[in-house]
Structure formats: structure tokens, C-alpha cells
């Protein structure tokens, strides 16, 4: 029996420079009422008409912006205790992340060194698997630790019952009553996640379909993983951020992976896939649509995932989900 959350209609998309797959996704929903937009990932640019106009043009049934980023700015100004506690929580999470990075660097180095050692006179398959299992364990420990920290802070924050939050949530609930779906843009994935949590809009009407792209899709996942193989600073080791909204469990969305990951580097791709083997690591391009309807996924035919051998294979081959 799948949990109820898996029954929610959900459409996950890749980057939207032209909003082409967003248009197709909305056509699949056959909506007649306006959709509610979450553009918190754009941060201060949220109200920018030059950014908004092409998005609004892509929603034929009409739309209205929930302005979650602007609301959070108002909220923080009105509730300085809340913003201070969130900063303290962030400091704690940052310390944990720094420790995680130290441990991760060494654990991944062990995996790499064992992988590239071609002078072995004995079979090291078990050692290789064990080395990568250590990375998985570290990721898992860090994930659980961040969950503990966030849970403890949730107890202290009591976000849902704070006066200003109650007011905003009331307004948002009224707005959502007239909407056909929630559409979440890409952008800063952690900011999207935080605003979704503060305002609780996904929980207000759990029957509302959700469409989300790039950073928005990552924020809805079970576990958010940041990735970039060639950043200007550092080694570019993917790292766990923390738990996402948990609206889906099967996939690790990798938006814009073709530019962010060296997909022609088979050992690197294979290692990524094996490290995160609890999920299908899906390359999400401009044309990607992943549509969950009544608990079953439909995936656009050219959608690829990373495979353990370092290749890209169609998601459909394994998509018995």
C-alpha cells in the first residue's frame, strides 16, 4: 500500500529557459482554473516583471504568485526572534556541514584511489564496494543528523503557531482555494525548501497537483543533493544538503546535469550512481517530464539516468515505479 503522499499528482521538470516542457506539463493537467506560483527560488527577483512575464504567458489558465520570498522578508521583519532562531539553526547546520565535508573528502579519496589502482594482484571488488559503502554510510549519518537538528529546532521555533506565520498561512490558504495546481519554479533549492516549510502550502490542500522544475523539483525530493563536477573552487564532490519535502522517493533529480556533470567521464558517473544507489539519479533536461499519476510514473521517452557502469540509460528500463 503506497502512502497517500505518493498518490498526489506530481510533475517534475528540468530547466525552463523557454518554458517549453512547463507548457506541455500544464496541458497534461487540462486545467481550467488559475495556478498558484511559487517563485521563492528567484529570491529578490521574485516580483521582477521581466522574469515573470514569460512564465505567466506559459500558463494559459492564468496564475497568481504566492510571493513566498517577499512574504518571508515581511515575516522576518515582523518577527525578529524567528529570523534569529533560523540563523542560529543555520549556524549549527553549517558546522555540521563543515565536519561532513572533511569526512567526505577522505572517504571519496579512498574510493578514487582504490578505483584507479590497476596494479592489483588480487580481486579488490569487495574493498571497492566497502569503500563506497562507507561514503553511503557517511551520507546517511549526515542526513539523519541534519534531520535531528531540524526537528529539534522545529520544536523551538513552533513556526505554525507564530502570529505572523498564522496570518500569512491564512491568506495563502484563501488564495490556494481558487487554484488548480501549485507551480514551483527553479532557483535556490535551499531557499525554496525553507519557504515551503515556513508557509506550509503543500500541506494546505494535499489534493492539489504540484508542478516543479529544477531547484523546485529538488526541494520536493526525499533528500536534496547538491552537485557540480567543475566548480571554480573545490573538488566538486556532490554533497547531501538535508531532507527535502519528501513528495517522492524514487528519484534523485539532477537538473541541468549535462552542463553540471561530466557525463562523459564514466568512472565519475558510475561512482555517483553507486553512491546514491537508493535512488535513480535522473538527468533532467529542458524537455524532461516526469509525471506521477495515481502513484504510477510516466516519464518522457528520452529521459536518462546514471547507471552504475558510468553510462546513461533510459529511465524507462528500470522505471517499474
Amino acid at each position: 500500500m503506497k502512502p497517500d503522499v505518493d498518490q498526489r499528482r506530481l510533475l517534475l521538470l528540468g530547466p525552463q529557459p523557454e518554458y517549453s516542457s512547463l507548457r506541455r506539463a500544464l496541458e497534461r493537467l487540462k486545467m481550467t482554473a488559475p495556478v498558484a506560483l511559487v517563485t521563492a527560488g528567484w529570491e529578490e527577483d521574485e516580483p521582477d516583471p521581466r522574469l515573470l512575464a514569460p512564465l505567466l504567458d506559459s500558463v494559459p489558465s492564468g496564475s497568481f504568485n504566492l510571493n513566498l520570498f517577499q512574504r518571508s522578508e515581511e515575516l522576518f521583519a515582523a518577527d525578529p526572534e524567528l529570523i534569529q532562531m533560523l540563523r542560529d539553526r543555520q549556524d549549527e547546520l553549517r558546522l555540521l556541514r563543515d565536519v561532513y565535508r572533511v569526512r567526505l573528502e577522505h572517504a571519496l579519496e579512498a574510493v578514487r584511489r582504490i578505483e584507479v589502482d590497476h596494479e592489483q594482484r588480487i580481486d579488490l571488488t569487495a574493498e571497492r564496494e566497502s569503500a563506497i559503502e562507507m561514503v553511503r554510510l557517511l551520507d546517511r549519518q549526515y542526513f539523519l543528523r541534519t534531520c535531528q537538528v531540524c526537528d529539534a529546532w522545529d520544536e523551538r521555533l513552533q513556526t505554525p503557531s507564530r502570529q505572523e506565520v498564522v496570518r500569512h498561512r491564512g491568506e495563502l490558504r484563501t488564495l490556494l482555494d481558487g487554484s488548480a495546481a501549485i507551480v514551483i519554479s527553479g532557483g535556490h533549492a535551499a531557499i525554496i525548501l525553507n519557504r515551503l516549510r515556513i508557509f506550509g502550502i503543500l500541506e494546505m490542500n494535499e489534493k492539489l497537483p504540484v508542478v516543479a522544475w529544477s531547484g523546485g523539483a529538488m526541494a520536493l525530493s526525499e533528500q536534496i543533493v547538491f552537485f557540480h563536477d567543475s566548480p571554480p573552487q573545490g573538488r566538486g564532490d556532490a554533497e547531501v544538503l538535508r531532507a527535502g519535502m519528501g513528495l517522492f522517493h524514487e528519484f534523485l533529480p539532477l537538473p541541468d546535469a549535462r552542463s553540471r556533470l561530466r557525463l562523459d567521464d564514466a568512472p565519475r558517473v558510475g561512482m555517483f550512481s553507486r553512491r546514491f544507489d537508493a535512488w535513480q539519479c535522473v538527468v533532467m533536461d529542458e524537455q524532461t517530464i516526469m509525471d506521477r499519476r495515481q502513484g504510477e510514473w510516466w516519464v518522457s521517452h528520452d529521459t536518462r539516468r546514471l547507471d552504475h557502469d558510468g553510462s546513461l540509460v533510459p529511465v524507462t528500463e528500470m522505471a517499474a515505479v
Binding site: P15, Q16, P17, G41, E44, D45, D48, G186, G187, H188, A189, A190, I191, S214, G215, M218, F226, H228, P231, P232, Q233, L241, P255, D256
Partner: protein
């Protein structure tokens, strides 16, 4: 040394036509890994390689091939090297410095530019070249009245492509700004790095000196101009983060001295410095042996080393291995680190030139002001 390179030179008795064929079949200089064969063709009494590699003789003669008019020289450099050079061609007793006629790659600079050769592993970074998909920032001029210098200073201000008045931006003040724009393609670099989210959107003020060697050599008026005239003018006109952590001073050569001197004279205003090939000459004992223009620099650096005061939190330092200033720049790093400064130091097999400074911009800017790349998925 010639036997180390696989290219066979023509027979010393070759005809002009055979030499023409040799030249037409390859590009010059010939590069094989770390080996470079410089070739010049023309009548001359002497041909020499003129370069700016500290540690090598300033003039390295080419060898004439038999009785032909072909001159050559094979040299070895570390892989990843970028070398700027000219040929010194002596005719009728007079030497003329010219670009390599067989090499189309010229690095422009304020002195007419140089020919450039790169050994294996050294490429122009893609982010230093214009890209069709990258939106362009805007350059606008503003005039800053300078009471301390008694003149008006034209400043070019770079605003990122998605500049919005409701945002707050970091500020980068660039010494020798006109040269950075002309010779280091800095507007293109900013466009590309911002578009790639590797650095945040920022406002960049490209300033220019009056009498450069005076003003940039720890002239106390310069710090007054930057802090009390330029900065307020910029902050009154643009939405800037008005905190030291959001500000950076940068420059190359004497411009790096001006940056360090300003931060030293007016601590707590700029918390980030980007110093490229700084002319940080100093002495531990006795006089310096550089030209007199360094007198005030040496006096400043010696005083700075005695009394560094309150230093910026983060300083990026880069220098070319082929520069005479490499010793001074390497010396600066442990000095700063010992005083608690977070320092990032980068070297390159390159010289004291604008393309070297261009090619280190990504390292420096993305370290001082990291962009939202890691967390942003549009």
C-alpha cells in the same frame, strides 16, 4: 637540443622554394609538449628572442640555418607555460623589436603587444572569451570630483546584466580599470562568470590613475580619494552592500600596491583584496636594486612589514613564475597568513602581463566572492 624536437629542419643547402614549403606545412612556433621551436625568416645580421622570463638571459640568439635566411631556436619550458616574446632583428647594426611574423597570436598591451606561444596544457580559458548565450552587463561612465587630487576622475562602472535597483550588490574597485577592460577582457569575464553563477552579480568600478607611478606607490592622497571620494560617490549612486565584507579592492603590479596601501592606510573599509603580480619590493637590509620608481614602494612595504596593522580578512594573491616579482609575492603569503589573513595564492607559468592577470580572475573572484552556483538550479 634540436634533436629533442621531432620536426626536421630543412637541409642547410635548401633553396628558397624548399624553405617556403617547410614554412607552409606547419604553424609557428612549433610546440611539442614542453619544447618550443621559434623560427624567423628574413635577411638579418642577428636575430634574437626577446622575452620577459625572469631568470633567462634577456636576449637569446637564434641560429641561422646554413646560408639560408631561416633562423631558429629550440627552447624548453614547463608544460602549461605561456610566453610573450618579440624578435630582435638586427640589420645594418640596428636592432628592431618586432612581432613574430609567423605567429598570428598577439597579446595586446599598452606598449604595442607581444607575440604569444603556449606549451602543452595552456589554453585560453573559455570563460575569458565572448559567448553567444551570455547576457552582457552595462558599462556606464561617471565622473568623480577629486578634491584631494584637484581634478575630475572618469570612472567606468560595470552593472551586471540583471542589475536591479532593489537588490544590494558587492562592490569591486579595480585599479588600472581601463587597461583591465581593454587588455584583460574584464567585462567579458564578469559577464561569463556571473552568467555561470560562479560569482555573484556585482558592481565593478574601473578607476584610472592620474600620474600612475606616483599615485599608486603609496601616495596618501590615493587612499583618501578611494575611501572619501570614490566610495561615497558610488554608494550614493548604486545600491551597494555598505559593509567591508561586501567590498574588494584589486589591481595588478603597482595597482596591487595601491590596493594594499589603501587597505593599510584605511583599515576596515575593504575586507577583501585581489592582488595580481604586486610590485611588493622590500628590503630586509640595505638598499633595493630596482629602478628609482620603486623607492616609495620599498619604503611602504618595509613599513607595512613592520606595522601591518588591521588587515583585510581575505586576500587573493597571484603571480607569474616568470616574473621578477615572484620572490616578493611568495614572501607575502606566509607573512599575511601568520597574521591571521585567509590567503589564497595562485601561481602560473606566465609573466607580468594582462593575459596572465585575465586568466587568474576566475580563481580570485570566485574565491573572494563565491557565486550561488552550488545551490542554484534554474
Amino acid at each position: 637540443m634540436i634533436q629533442n624536437i621531432s620536426i626536421s629542419l630543412p637541409d642547410p643547402r635548401s633553396t628558397p622554394g624548399e624553405i617556403e614549403v617547410f614554412l607552409s606545412e606547419r604553424t609557428f612556433p612549433v610546440v611539442e609538449g614542453s619544447l618550443v621551436m621559434f623560427v624567423y625568416r628574413g635577411q638579418a645580421e642577428l636575430v634574437s628572442l626577446r622575452h620577459w622570463i625572469y631568470g633567462l638571459p634577456a636576449s637569446i640568439p637564434l641560429t641561422r640555418l646554413g646560408r639560408t635566411d631561416l633562423w631558429f631556436r629550440v627552447m624548453e619550458f614547463p608544460e602549461g607555460s605561456r610566453i610573450e616574446y618579440k624578435f630582435g632583428v638586427t640589420r645594418s647594426g640596428f636592432e628592431e623589436w618586432i612581432h613574430d611574423p609567423l605567429n598570428l597570436h598577439i597579446a595586446p598591451d599598452p606598449f604595442g603587444g607581444n607575440s604569444v606561444v603556449r606549451t602543452a596544457g595552456c589554453k585560453t580559458p573559455a570563460w575569458a572569451l565572448p559567448r553567444a548565450e551570455t547576457p552582457h552587463g552595462k558599462l556606464e561612465q561617471m565622473i568623480v570630483d577629486s578634491a584631494v587630487f584637484g581634478d575630475q576622475r572618469p570612472i567606468m562602472v560595470y552593472l551586471p546584466a540583471r542589475f536591479r535597483t532593489y537588490r544590494r550588490y558587492r562592490l569591486l574597485v579595480v585599479h588600472d580599470g581601463g587597461d583591465y577592460l581593454r587588455y584583460s577582457s574584464m567585462a567579458t569575464v564578469l559577464d561569463n562568470l556571473i552568467h555561470a553563477l560562479e560569482i555573484p552579480q556585482m558592481v565593478v568600478a574601473f578607476s584610472n590613475p592620474g600620474e600612475r607611478l606616483n599615485e599608486y606607490a603609496d601616495d596618501p592622497r590615493h587612499a583618501v580619494h578611494v575611501v572619501d571620494e570614490l566610495l561615497p560617490a558610488l554608494e550614493s549612486r548604486y545600491p551597494l552592500i555598505q559593509e567591508a565584507s561586501g567590498r574588494c579592492l584589486m589591481g595588478a603590479s603597482f595597482g596591487a600596491v595601491a590596493s594594499l596601501s589603501t587597505a593599510w592606510r584605511r583599515p576596515g573599509i575593504f575586507d577583501n583584496l585581489l592582488l595580481q603580480s604586486g610590485s611588493f619590493a622590500f628590503t630586509d637590509v640595505g638598499d633595493h636594486s630596482r629602478s628609482p620608481v620603486f623607492d616609495r614602494v620599498v619604503a611602504f612595504m618595509n613599513q607595512f612589514r613592520r606595522l601591518p596593522g588591521e588587515l583585510p580578512s581575505r586576500i587573493f594573491v597571484s603571480c607569474g613564475v616568470y616574473e621578477s616579482l615572484i620572490y616578493e609575492n611568495r614572501s607575502l603569503v606566509p607573512f599575511l597568513q601568520a597574521r591571521g589573513v585567509d590567503v589564497r595564492y595562485v601561481e602560473a607559468f606566465d609573466g607580468h602581463n594582462w593575459e596572465n592577470w585575465r586568466d587568474r580572475l576566475r580563481d580570485g573572484l570566485s574565491w573572494l566572492f563565491p557565486g550561488p552556483l552550488w545551490a542554484t538550479y534554474m
